[in-house]
């Protein structure tokens, strides 16, 4: 009888939560660019109204046009707008939004922002400030993981302030080692040390770069894994301790520690390893009582030993490949979790179906060492067709501002297997034309042709290793196709000339254009 009562009670609890979740009627998106648009799409499907915020430079940006409401929050530099907590809270109050989605970058991993939302009575769509703080600092994150028995790359547990501690550690583990900023990310404040004579200089350089980039000169030292794979696991956790993983993303195609291409499933790991790493990812999330969508990043060496690297307490840029292969809308899940709903599925209900690849399209010039290339978009032809998703935000006539990230869009291709996904991506990259600014589209297309990539035989040194092939010019076009291009230009130029001549003739008929304007304007009607 008691048992029956318990079941009844717990069902009642479930029912209560499912029927009376916290209402989220209007969400402010504290971001810009493609991710702001992507979040708004899911909100719209859920019947939630959306509020955009924008800086001076973003008045004409797509997220402003796509949103139901939009509020100006300040000058173009991020510090005065998208990173200004008070202005964003004010916009939320003005608009009556009762939740904020931070996207990625900007304030998405700032625990102060989470606390400020709480004080203002606004739901932050993401983890608690507490778990964010633990995972945000690489040293406390390592500590927490070590305590939970999760493998980490051998390294110092405390911040290094002098050379002696550094040398002592190096004596124990041996070269090479890597110096990293505790508050770091994006490859800043990192130095690889291979010789004893370099330790002092590299330590100093890393600390000064860390101070400049993050306002904190704490650094730590780790053993440097040669040719590692960068593999991460997507997790989802509700407020009731239910945690699932949504499998891995292989992110080893990197340039300057920035991801360029991601794919899932990873061509490197086995199903046993996948199972094991997935369970460890779940443990890692539980350890910090994580809530929402998050990512556990691992380094995997060539012998398939894996080590916890860090946790990203937000939606990742590369989340769409997981969505495509698992069939879950991660933004909707984030919102449901924030509303206090239980996860609607269990680990056993989800599986990977087919293969997905994402290419990041940047406004950068690969021919000039990937120099940023902001400017006016003159013409776009977007790729479409079966298995293609394009998450972008630029349009013809849009001027990409100089103040923010050079990411223009993300192209996601899905196939029944890896080979089909690669061929489809290649096809889509050929279709994709953007002019006005330099982009990485052709560079990415060449990656799809590199044997090491096709064979799935690559690690984080892939781009360096294949530099010559990647930087070579395309030779796909013969004289015939060049001639066709020349003919098109000839015809177009002659048409332009002909039009100009007839215009000039009309003008030289003895009719002044001012006179004809004067005559016309009295009876012109629109």
């Amino acid at each position: 009888m008691e048992y029956v009562q318990f079941i009844f009670f717990s069902n009642l609890c479930d029912l209560f939560l499912k029927q009376n979740p916290v209402m989220i009627k209007k969400v402010l998106i504290a971001n810009r660019g493609e991710i702001a648009v992507r979040i708004m799409r899911s909100c719209r499907e859920m019947g939630i109204r959306t509020v955009a915020v924008f800086s001076d430079a973003d008045r004409t940006s797509l997220h402003v046009r796509y949103a139901d409401e939009a509020y100006h929050i300040g000058p173009s530099p991020s510090l005065d707008s998208y990173l200004n907590i008070e202005k964003i809270i004010k916009a939320a109050k003005q608009s009556g939004a009762n939740a904020i989605h931070p996207g990625y970058g900007f304030l998405s991993e700032n625990p102060e922002f989470v606390k400020r939302c709480g004080r203002a009575g606004i739901i932050f769509i993401g983890p608690t400030a507490h778990s964010m703080s633990i995972m945000g600092d690489k040293i406390t994150a390592r500590d927490a993981m070590i305590s939970a028995g999760i493998p980490v790359v051998p390294g110092t547990r405390e911040a290094i302030h002098n050379e002696k501690i550094a040398l002592k550690f190096i004596q124990e583990t041996g070269f090479p080692v890597i110096i990293k900023a505790a508050a770091g990310g994006g490859g800043k404040g990192m130095r690889i040390v291979t010789e004893r004579s370099n330790v002092t200089a590299k330590l100093r350089a890393a600390r000064s770069e860390a101070l400049n980039a993050f306002g904190d000169d704490s650094v730590y030292i780790e053993k440097y894994l040669e040719s590692p794979h960068h593999i991460e696991f997507q997790i989802l956790a509700d407020k009731y301790g239910n945690v699932v993983h949504l499998f891995e993303r292989e992110c080893s195609v990197q340039r300057r520690h920035q991801k360029v291409i991601e794919e899932t499933p990873s061509p490197f790991i086995t199903s046993e390893l996948r199972e094991k790493m997935g369970q460890i990812a779940i443990t890692a999330a539980r350890t910090v009582r994580y809530e929402g969508a998050g990512t556990i990043e691992f380094l995997v060496d060539k012998d398939k030993n894996f080590y916890f690297l860090e946790m990203n307490t937000r939606l990742q840029v590369e989340h769409p490949i997981t969505e495509r292969v698992v069939g879950v809308d991660l933004v909707k899940e984030q919102i449901r979790i924030a509303r206090g709903e239980k996860l609607s599925f269990k680990q056993k209900n989800i599986r990977q179906s087919g293969h997905a690849i994402e290419c990041r399209i940047y406004a950068e010039d690969p021919g000039r060492n990937f120099m940023p290339s902001p400017g006016l978009i003159k013409h776009i032809t977007n790729p479409t067709g079966l298995g293609i998703r394009s998450d972008g935000y630029v349009y013809e006539g849009y001027k990409i501002p100089i103040y923010y990230d050079p990411l223009i869009s993300k192209l996601i291709a899905w196939g029944q297997n890896r080979t089909e996904a690669i061929k489809r991506m290649k096809r889509a990259l050929y279709e994709y034309k953007i002019t006005g600014v330099k982009t990485t589209i052709n560079f990415l297309g060449r990656i799809m042709d590199i044997p090491d990539f096709i064979d799935g035989n690559y690690d984080t040194h892939f781009i360096e290793k294949n530099k010559d092939l990647l930087m070579s010019r395309d030779i796909r076009c013969d004289t015939l196709c060049e001639d066709i291009a020349i003919i098109a230009a000839y015809i177009d130029y002659n048409d332009k000339l002909a039009k100009l001549q007839s215009f000039n003739q009309a003008r030289s008929n003895g009719n002044s254009r001012w006179k004809s304007y004067g005559r016309k304007k009295n009876h012109v009607r629109i």
């Binding site: 050929y430 196709c481 060049e482 230009a489």
Partner: protein
């Protein structure tokens, strides 16, 4: 009408032989093409040649004589080389004396720092200006040793692509 057209490094002579609406006969470097060419969208041509279909996009460059031409696989820089263009080219070549060089911006951005001032002596390889764009800072170095003659911008300025920044003598 015959025109000289350059495609990247290649120079070709193009001459129209016959044109009847969208049916065109044209010589490219002496080779005769008979094709069906029609503008389908603004700046986009559909070309049928020998049973093959080509979709070619033309985007006007900085002048009306420059184009970026996209075919399915490749993208080309094409320029109509007429008397005026040749004259411009030869003028540009003579504009700068051998004893002067100009540092110009390859991209729009913001001037972060100018570590030199007019009158300073610089060696080849010295950083003369730092530009920030899209969260990345780039240092520009001089390719020649010399004396800074003029600095055309100030720290904090927003600059356009191809703008003159510094003249070195």
């Amino acid at each position: 009408m015959a025109l000289e057209i350059s495609l990247d490094d290649r120079h070709s002579k193009v001459e129209l032989v016959k044109k009847d609406k969208n049916f065109v006969e044209i010589l490219v470097d002496g080779k005769l093409y008979k094709l069906d060419i029609i503008m389908v969208e603004d700046g986009v041509y559909s070309i049928l040649h020998d049973g093959k279909s080509y979709n070619v996009e033309l985007i006007e460059g900085e002048t009306k004589k420059q184009y970026i031409v996209n075919t399915l696989y490749r993208s080309f820089n094409i320029e109509i080389v007429d008397a005026e263009t040749r004259y411009q080219l030869s003028r540009n070549r003579n504009l700068l004396g051998d004893d002067q060089s100009i540092i110009s911006s390859p991209m729009p951005g913001k001037v972060v720092k100018i570590p030199v001032k007019a009158g300073d002596k610089v060696e080849a390889g010295d950083t003369v200006i730092i530009i920030s764009a899209m969260k990345m800072e780039s240092e520009y170095k001089t390719g020649k040793s010399g004396v800074i003659k003029e600095i055309h911008v100030s720290e904090g300025d927003t600059i356009e692509g191809h703008q003159m920044l510094i003249t070195i003598e």
